[in-house]
């Protein structure tokens, strides 16, 4: 995006991190919000979107970094001093007040400057509370905006979820904030209600003309409502863009997987603007280095079905599901699954052809090609890294070496080296890791924190508890997120490298 004039940025977040009890909820986030836009922070739970919102509201103070409002630093300003109002996830209506008192809460606390002229004709300003009449008027208007006229005297507990939601919005907008923060405001509503409120919120945004900052984990909601989407994961921003940009040009496999349905496949660049996957060379519009391994993303609706003779790919239909507007057809192409959305149906077992246009093939750099760790040798042929302990082959450190009976390494030249506590870097390929649900079997243990389906296999991340070390690997087996597993690596697949030249042991 083009650099904007200072006046157009209402909020700027500069290098902000937030650390709770030694774990980073938000890491080095940089973004700005334009005046009047509808911006959405989107991501799975725990991605840092709510924490970012809470720092804008003032409920949490960043551990480091700055937050600017209209160019002024508000990082440490308490929430009651910010021209920002929040609609909370569970509404947080005051149960001991009726609807009127809930909405009037902010107005009753507010003091506005009023200018008077005294006997001598001098003017002076006094901070004054709003009059009862002014408050009544504003509350009435706010209730009209959310379609709840005449609800003033009702108690909170008599309202439905949707109505409470509207009161929460009225309570926030009645204070005429510059920015309205909405923290998953539709999360507690049922599907039909949610759809209705999405349209109403959008409409409200248009009418009020103020900035909306919206937090959700629902990608569809984000795509429908936002001017700008900020996709977050593990406290970091993955991509910032318009809904179209995010959908059509996902920055990485995570964004592609999280936004909409997608086929994510392993590919290799074979030539300029040519990528090979599923045993076929495709023309594409992205350019990468030749022979680079890449992730290929193809949206299901971008695959065109034809006869088996006319397709670039052909495959056998293994399932057909009717989805209302379209059919979702899954076909096996070689060992990869390909999901296709089409208005036409096919029978299970049919052989179909598939075509993909070059601009529908999205190619992105592989995020993980190899696991790298810092480790050290503990005793003969054992290396410690990534919160675990694995058998390895230390002779690879010195070509032609071997171990003697006492565990000392004898190099090709006959030198004797004690490797105990030697620092090494460790590399493990994505195909070299296996997992098991028997905790004692592997060298390290952790929970599966992420899985992404990549056509013919899943890419998993197993994270250990102690130091949150990640093991990324590909597997055809299906495991569940949060499964507790142990990580197995064969000794020959652990590639070691010395961190520095060893001192020789006489």
């Amino acid at each position: 995006m083009a650099e904007l004039k200072k006046s157009e940025k209402i909020i700027e977040i500069v290098n902000v991190s937030k650390i709770f009890d030694e774990t980073a909820a938000v890491e080095d986030v940089n973004l700005y919000v334009r005046k009047g836009e509808f911006i959405t922070f989107l991501g799975p739970s725990g991605c840092g979107k709510t924490t970012t919102l809470r720092m804008i509201a003032g409920f949490d103070i960043p551990t480091s970094g700055k937050i600017l409002l209209n160019g002024k630093d508000i990082t440490n300003l308490p929430p009651n001093k910010r021209p920002v109002n929040t609609v909370f996830q569970r509404y947080a209506l005051f149960p001991h007040f009726n609807i009127y008192d809930n909405i009037a809460f902010g107005l009753k606390l507010k003091k506005i400057p009023v200018t008077y002229v005294n006997d001598k004709g001098e003017t002076y300003t006094k901070l004054q509370k709003l009059t009862r009449k002014e408050i009544d008027e504003k509350v009435k208007n706010a209730l009209a905006v959310v379609d709840l006229e005449g609800f003033e005297k009702r108690s909170v507990s008599t309202l439905s979820g949707g109505q409470q939601q509207r009161v929460a919005i009225a309570r926030a907008i009645v204070n005429e904030p510059e920015i309205l923060l909405l923290d998953e405001p539709l999360g507690a509503l049922d599907l039909k209600m949610r759809k209705e409120m999405q349209i109403e919120l959008k409409e409200m945004h248009r009418k009020l003309g103020i900035t909306f900052i919206y937090v959700t984990h629902d990608q569809e909601e984000a795509l429908t409502m936002s001017d700008t989407i900020v996709v977050m994961k593990d406290g970091r921003i993955q991509q910032i863009g318009t809904p179209t940009e995010i959908y059509n040009e996902p920055a990485n496999a995570f964004v592609a997987d999280f936004i909409g349905d997608s086929n994510i496949l392993n590919g290799t660049m074979v030539d300029k603007f040519t990528v090979r996957f599923c045993n076929h060379n495709f023309q594409c519009v992205d350019d990468f280095e030749k022979n680079e391994k890449v992730d290929v993303v193809v949206r299901p609706e971008d695959i065109e079905m034809t006869d088996k003779e006319n397709g670039m790919l052909s495959g056998r239909v293994i399932s057909v599901v009717f989805k209302g507007v379209h059919y979702e057809i899954t076909a096996m192409v070689g060992r990869s699954e390909m999901v296709i959305q089409s208005t036409q149906s096919r029978a299970v077992g049919d052989i179909i052809g598939m075509n993909i246009a070059p601009d529908n093939i999205h190619i992105m750099k592989k995020e993980f090609t190899v696991n790298k760790y810092d480790g050290y040798i503990s005793k003969k042929n054992t290396v410690i890294f990534g919160d675990g302990k694995f058998d390895c082959d230390v002779t690879q450190l010195y070509p032609g070496s071997h171990l003697d009976e006492e565990g000392y390494l004898i190099t090709a030249d006959g030198e004797k080296i004690d490797l105990t506590d030697v620092d090494v870097t460790v590399e493990v390929g994505l195909q070299s890791i296996e997992i098991s649900d028997n905790a004692d079997e592997g060298g390290a243990q952790g929970h599966i924190v992420s899985l992404i389906y990549k056509g013919d296999h899943y890419q998993y991340i197993v994270r250990t508890e102690e130091n949150e070390e990640d093991y990324v690997f590909d597997s055809e087996d299906l495991w569940n997120e949060n499964d507790f597993v142990s990580v197995k690596i064969k000794p020959e697949n652990i590639r070691l490298q010395l961190k520095q030249e060893m001192k020789q042991n006489g």
């Binding site: 509201a57 003032g58 409920f59 308490p78 929430p79 009651n80 920002v84 109002n85 929040t86 909370f88 996830q89 569970r90 947080a92 209506l93 005051f94 149960p95 001991h96 809460f105 902010g106 606390l109 507010k110 309570r171 926030a172 204070n175």
Partner: protein, 265 residues
Amino acid sequence: MVKKILSITLCVLILVFIYAPILLLVVYSFTPSNVIGRWEGFSLALYGQLFRNTEIMQILFNTIWLALAAAALSTVLGTAGAIGIFYSRRKVAKPLQAASQIPVINAEIVTAISLALLFSAVLLYRTYFSLIIGHMVLCTPFVVLSVLPKLKQMDSNTYEAALDLGASPAQALFKVVVPQIFSGILSGFMLSITLSLDDYIVTAFTKPPMFDTISTYVYNAVKNGTNSSTPALRALSALIFVVMIAIILIINLRARKPAAKETSK
């Protein structure tokens, strides 16, 4: 059928066990006899004696005054403490809660002598100060125990919502948090009053020498064998029984009504 009769019999027997002594005192408070068991005709003479007995009236006043003061102070301290504990980190909250449990779990006699040791060390033994503190030690943990669950039930975002709408932290606390936990504060206060009224042991170890509450006065009267020579005490007991039973019934029956209304809606 047999089961039902057995159940009712058991309930009735236990009720008789619980209320027989109370009823006995109430009945014999209406006869001027010095000894229980000898009915000398209906009369309000004992009540007349009771209200003319300035010593007993003073003691009654002492007891109520002490209970109200201790309960009020405990409620303020305990409510603030509960809010503080609720919003503190575990590292702070856990030890505070553990210390707060000590007087709840401890035998009253141990609490009493521990305070006696403390106050004699600082030359405040058997003063009004030690007495009030003694009762606060008994009551405050129970205030904390009745307020904490209400804080847990409260939607924690309402405090933040108040700040968000422009309230200062103090305004948010008094306008939003306190009203939501008010039922807990009130029950803590009521509980404190009953605990203070009920107490003998801590009072005995902390009270000024010439100060008596109903508990210490009656216990000493029994100990010195003077209780039968002051039959007015019977009227006092009977009066307290009836008043307390009435108060408890009224509060509880009233408290249940709005709740019942809510659910029927």
